[in-house]
């Protein structure tokens, strides 16, 4: 009994269990799920596809985890920020034209500006949340709705195509390397974030601010600055994710890049075993959560559920997880258990 309790109380228990469950369903449905073949020097297979497609989500989930941990709120503007970053990058590279076959401006400039605009959006959110003390979701709601409008204005309401081979590299494969580029980007982002959080005290600070911002401030931490920084970082993550999404389709589609991503990112954080009310967090949990969701999405697509309908199932999962996490629910369950135990005792006495 004790051993089982030990395993179930392990913080990554929930995310790993969910991940295994989704994988099992997949293996049963498609026995070739884990098979990986090599075509034209590139790995192919379901599992590679899941890992590849999940890349944007993993990066968003990393940013979202820190935001949730520090402020107890979520950044719902990430999807819109993605589309802004993608739109700006394509606009710069295309020099205002609609379709191009050669860069009008240096590639690096486009990438850099896209990341900068992500950071700027993060600063805006962070300013509203940390300095003006506005609930995170209301503050990020502003960019959630306006963001796509801004992206539309940048691309003038049309889809900008970048028909240059090396623009596709970020979302596809670098010649000679069998794994998708996105995987390397994800590994770099996750590793750097993890090292910074673990090797410096920043991770600890974020947790302490999330648990009690006022107390942390009294201890001498600059709570508002730490919250601000997490939002900026989340904006940067959204910028990177936007670039990857744009590179996949070598264009900037303001309406569809990052659509419904905010729900997925929040779901990844919740699935990762992080409390949505802030405080303690595990980055690894969120990463596993993100892969779980992508595996789930792929499964649902395979069951011919359309992209528009997906949110229904995800919304149900979110509500269930969050309900299970809530203290009130635990209280009710404990109340029921106690009643049962009382009943047993009474029986024994009788």
């Amino acid at each position: 009994m004790n051993k089982i309790k030990k395993i179930t109380s392990y913080e990554l228990f929930l995310p790993i269990m969910c991940f295994i469950l989704v994988l099992l369903i997949n293996v049963i449905k498609t026995p070739t799920f884990f098979e990986v073949s090599i075509k034209n020097g590139v790995f192919y297979g379901y599992i590679i596809d899941v890992i590849n497609r999940a890349s944007e989500l993993v990066i968003l989930a990393v940013g979202m985890t820190l935001v949730v941990a520090s402020s107890g709120g979520t950044d719902i503007s990430v999807g819109a920020v993605m589309s802004v970053a993608a739109a700006l990058c394509c606009y710069i590279l295309a020099g205002g034209q609609q379709t191009i076959n050669a860069y009008q401006n240096p590639y690096v400039l486009g990438i850099l500006l896209a990341l900068v605009v992500g950071v700027v959006c993060g600063c805006f959110n962070g300013f509203l949340v940390a300095k003006m003390k506005i609930q995170p979701m209301v503050a990020t709601l502003i960019l959630f709705t306006a963001g796509r409008g801004i992206a539309q204005l940048i691309t003038k309401g049309q889809i900008t195509y970048i028909r240059v081979e090396n623009y596709k590299l970020l979302g596809a494969n670098i010649p000679g390397i069998p794994l998708p580029t996105t995987i390397f980007v994800v590994v770099i982002v996750v590793l750097i974030t993890n090292i910074v959080l673990k090797k410096t005290a920043l991770g600890l600070y974020i947790q302490s601010v999330g648990i009690n911002a006022k107390a942390s401030r009294l201890v001498g931490l600059k709570s508002s600055r730490i919250i601000f920084l997490t939002y900026v970082f989340c904006g940067l993550c959204a910028g990177i994710a936007g670039l990857m999404a744009s590179s996949r389709i070598y264009s900037a589609d303001a309406n569809n890049i990052g659509l419904n991503m905010e729900l997925d990112a929040i779901l990844a954080v919740a699935l990762g075993g992080n409390s949505l009310s802030g405080g303690k967090f595990t980055l690894l949990g969120s990463v596993i959560g993100a892969y779980t969701i992508q595996a789930l999405t792929t499964t649902l697509y395979a069951m011919s559920v359309s992209a528009d309908q997906l949110p229904v199932y995800k919304a149900i999962v979110v509500v269930i997880i969050v309900s299970l996490q809530s203290k009130e629910f635990k209280k009710i369950v404990r109340g029921l258990k106690d009643k049962k135990a009382d009943g047993r005792k009474e029986e024994q006495v009788a």
Partner: protein, 342 residues
């Protein structure tokens, strides 16, 4: 004595700014678009006609926000309501009245579920309604991915019944007197607004909503059942949301997946612009009405201007929302300082 005066000012100040902003914007519109007939009474009425649904939804949103919560599922629920109405009447051959009844029940169910999760399980309202938002939008897509336009005669007769006002007419080029008109949806919306206003101001339930939003702990100690009051507020909001969706549908006479996108933002913005505090406890549906009218005026500007893309409405609304939120936050800080000094 002096302290009390200042407090009163702080809360009514925002409403005052809003009303003033609306009047200034409208007068500016009349001056800028002088040649295009912006000053006609009908243009003002059109603000009500095209925003009848939003007026009702903003009223519901205000109630929820006074309790300290929020509901971002409203836009998707409106889309679901429209789609359900269209689907039931066109694809299932249902009559307009039973279809309307079912839709109202759907709104109630949304209110009950979300209210339960927020009030009894104490999950953040944002997370609950965010899930509700995606759920409703996805459900809309499950019902039909294509646009369904409504051809039901009873429904269209509701939608197109013009009610002429006996005053404020203008003479057109042919010399015929044109009286301004409104649709029944406007009258329903305004009636509901008045009912909600009275309910909030003069009933026990209305006052307890303010009490819960002002300070939950105090409300609990006063002997109020905070959980039930919150649940009731969400149920009421869900109901108003479905009525709002119906009124919205009267305007568009169609159901499609992308409908009413960003509506939640407009409703929240209207409430906030109208002086509802995000922290709860303060708010007024009349203010929200002016919030809606400001949004309508911006839209009218953009249509009269002619060359701007419709995205500008959303961006301006977002900017206005940001502005008013910051204003609120500054007011709150100023108040804190005054309290500390005294």
């Amino acid at each position: 004595m002096e302290k009390k005066k200042l407090k009163l000012n702080g809360n009514t100040y925002l409403l005052f700014i809003t009303v003033l902003l609306f009047i200034v914007m409208y007068i500016a519109g009349i001056i800028i678009f002088h040649g295009k007939g912006f000053g006609r009474f009908q243009v003002l009425l059109n603000l009500f006609i095209s925003n009848a649904g939003l007026i009702v939804i903003a009223a519901g949103m205000t109630i929820v926000m006074i309790t300290g919560g929020i509901d971002i599922s409203v836009g998707s629920v409106v889309a679901l309501v429209c789609m359900l109405l269209a689907w039931m009447m066109e694809n299932k051959g249902m009559d307009a009245i039973p279809a309307l009844m079912i839709v109202l029940v759907v709104g109630l169910i949304f209110g009950v579920v979300q209210g339960f999760l927020v009030a009894y399980l104490k999950i953040q309202p944002f997370i609950v309604t965010l899930a509700g938002m995606f759920f409703a939008r996805g459900l809309t897509a499950i019902i039909s991915q294509e646009m369904i336009s409504i051809k039901n005669e009873v429904f269209l007769s509701w939608a197109n019944a013009k009610i002429y006002l006996p005053f404020g007419g203008t003479v057109n080029k042919k010399g015929v007197m044109l009286y301004p008109y409104v649709y029944p949806s406007v009258i329903i919306a305004l009636l509901i607004l008045i009912i909600v206003f009275i309910m909030l101001k003069y009933t026990k339930f209305g006052r307890s909503i303010y009490a819960v939003g002002g300070n939950e702990q105090s409300a609990l100690l006063m002997g109020l059942n905070v959980k039930t009051i919150k649940l009731k507020a969400y149920i009421l909001n869900g109901f108003l949301c479905s009525i709002g969706g119906f009124l919205f549908c009267l305007n568009t006479s169609a159901g499609f997946v992308e409908q009413a996108k960003g509506f939640e933002m407009e409703a929240i913005a209207s409430s906030v612009i109208g002086g509802t505090l995000l922290t709860g406890g303060v708010g007024n549906v009349i203010g929200s009405l002016f919030g809606v009218l400001i949004k309508g005026t911006i839209e009218t500007f953009i249509t009269f201007q002619g060359t701007l893309s419709s995205w500008w409405t959303k961006i301006t609304i977002a900017a206005l929302l940001a502005f008013f939120i910051i204003l609120q936050s500054l007011f709150a800080k100023a108040k804190e300082k005054v309290n500390k000094v005294s």
